[in-house]
């Protein structure tokens, strides 16, 4: 983990991370994203069973002051969501790569991962931001 970007995950240009386990992806936002957004007070996630299209806006993250879209880094069927965020949205700030995860998607097409960034590429992206 260099500059707070964990190795072994995939990343999107919209600052989401993806952890692959077989054909199921766990999705969350990066430390850089949570720091930019500030204190998070509400996360609106897709429902289990919903079908997502890669890079579509599928929910929102609300900080004290602002509403931001969640652009899903992968498409497919939602197979789980982090219900703890309802009562503890601040865990996205405190532990963005752990307790602050958002949802799990069963990938429609494994080829989608080719459109994501490696940890090295993502590090470079935020270094240039």
């Amino acid at each position: 983990m260099a500059n707070g970007v964990p190795a072994g995950l995939l990343y999107s240009k919209e600052h989401e991370w993806v952890l692959m386990d077989g054909d199921v992806a766990t999705v969350g936002i990066t430390d850089y994203a949570q720091s930019s957004l500030g204190d998070i007070v509400y996360v609106e996630l897709p429902r289990v069973g919903a079908t997502l299209t890669q890079f579509d806006s599928i929910g929102v993250i609300e900080s004290v002051k602002a509403v931001s879209d969640i652009f899903t880094p992968v498409g497919g069927e939602v197979v789980g969501t982090n219900g703890d965020l309802d009562n503890n949205p601040a865990s996205v700030n405190g532990d963005p790569y752990g307790a602050g995860w958002f949802y799990k998607v069963k990938l429609a097409d494994m080829g989608q991962t080719n459109d994501l960034l490696s940890s090295e590429q993502y590090e470079q992206l935020i270094a240039e931001a």
Binding site: G38, D39, Y42, V60, E62, S63, V64, K65, P89
Partner: protein
């Protein structure tokens, strides 16, 4: 919430100090301003429980002088001005012919002859044009926007943490009083006023821009370890919303009158004449006008400016400001609602991204500081 149309943003004298403190900078009122340093919640907590330090130098200061300032200002605003005594500050609103607001402002009377008028940053150019277009004998006006700085310290520890740097006895300064005094770190006299926009006790310091860094650094140097936090515009907006204070462009506009904003106390109908008086009188007597009301959301979804407000499925208004309110631990908002839906306790719904969420009308303010 405006930025310069030509895209050139100005910086206050404290810009480098903000960067050194790790501030996130956003465009606001034509300036590059700190929206937050650490976290809005942390900064909000500092102001409610200890004290916070704000750079408000983006707000415009107009120097007024001459024997007729009081009479001149009374004709253009809703409140009284001429009867202000030296050392008094007073909230006021410049109105248009329809009773709408050009801006909400504070007049500070420094002595018999000299006044300070402080207007919102986003309205600075409009207001300078407005007062310039209404000249009067015995009134001299100077636009000090950008030349004068404004630093605020707000929170229950303000007296204790500011006093060591100020020559005069600031504890003796009443709410909405002002005085010229000496402040350590500044060569010129500083205007200090017991005013603010957070719902807490506190002071505002008006000083030449070139002195701002010296005073800012001095106040932070000894007090930061005690818990004084530099605070950005993000925390300020949440603090003022909880305290039920209007923000121009939200609770009051050229269309939304001070009467609708609930500022009846500031409107002096016994004045013989002022811009918009007839329109405001007609509105008052009709009593059928939409008005600003406080609203809390039942659930965790915040209401935001522009969201529709519904009663029994019918649209009755619109959210004007909305945020999570850390003090009350609820999502709070102001809404401009029809009179039949404005009574306390009325159950309403707010439409958020196509889904309706339960809300209730509650009295403003959401937060009132405990009496000392």
């Amino acid at each position: 919430m405006t930025t310069e149309i030509n895209g050139t943003l100005r910086r206050t004298a404290l810009y480098d100090a903000h960067l050194a403190l790790g501030a996130r900078i956003v465009p606001f009122g034509g300036f590059e301003m700190p929206v937050q340093y650490s976290s809005i919640l942390k900064e909000h907590d500092a102001v409610r429980n200890r004290a916070g330090l704000f750079d408000l130098s983006h707000m415009a200061q107009f120097a007024l002088s001459g024997p007729n300032v009081g009479a001149w200002a009374e004709a253009l605003t809703v409140n009284k001005v001429a009867n202000m005594k030296p050392g008094q500050a007073r909230y006021n609103i410049f109105t248009n012919e329809h009773g709408g607001a050009h801006d909400d402002v504070i007049f500070y009377r420094l002595d018999d002859d000299r006044w300070l008028l402080v207007v919102n940053a986003g309205n600075a150019d409009k207001m300078w044009a407005h007062v310039s277009a209404n000249p009067a004998d015995g009134v001299t006006m100077t636009n000090l926007h950008g030349e004068r700085a404004l630093i605020a310290i707000q929170g229950p520890r303000s007296v204790e943490w500011l006093q060591p740097y100020v020559e005069s006895d600031i504890a003796a300064l009443k709410y909405y009083a002002c005085a010229e005094t000496r402040v350590k770190g500044a060569r010129e006299p500083v205007v200090i006023a017991r005013t603010g926009y957070t719902g807490e006790d506190g002071f505002e310091l008006f000083l030449p821009s070139e002195e701002a860094v010296g005073v800012w650094d001095l106040l932070l140097a000894e007090n930061r370890d005690r818990g004084l936090e530099p605070c950005g515009l993000g925390a300020r907006d949440v603090l003022r919303l909880e305290a039920g204070m209007p923000l121009y462009g939200h609770e009051m506009t050229e269309e939304i009158t001070p009467l609708q904003a609930g500022l009846t106390w500031a409107i002096k109908f016994d004045k013989p004449a002022f811009t918009g008086k007839d329109a405001l009188l007609a509105q008052r007597d009709s009593n059928g006008y939409a008005r600003i009301a406080g609203l809390t959301m039942d659930g965790r979804v915040p209401a935001r400016a522009g969201y529709p407000v519904l009663a029994d499925g019918v649209r009755v208004g619109e959210i004007r400001s909305g945020s999570f309110g850390p003090t009350v631990q609820k999502n709070v908002a102001t809404a401009l609602v029809e009179p039949h839906a404005a009574a306390e306790g009325t159950r309403l719904e707010v439409e958020v991204r196509g889904t309706r969420h339960a809300a209730m009308i509650v009295p403003l303010p959401f937060y009132k500081r405990p009496k000392a």
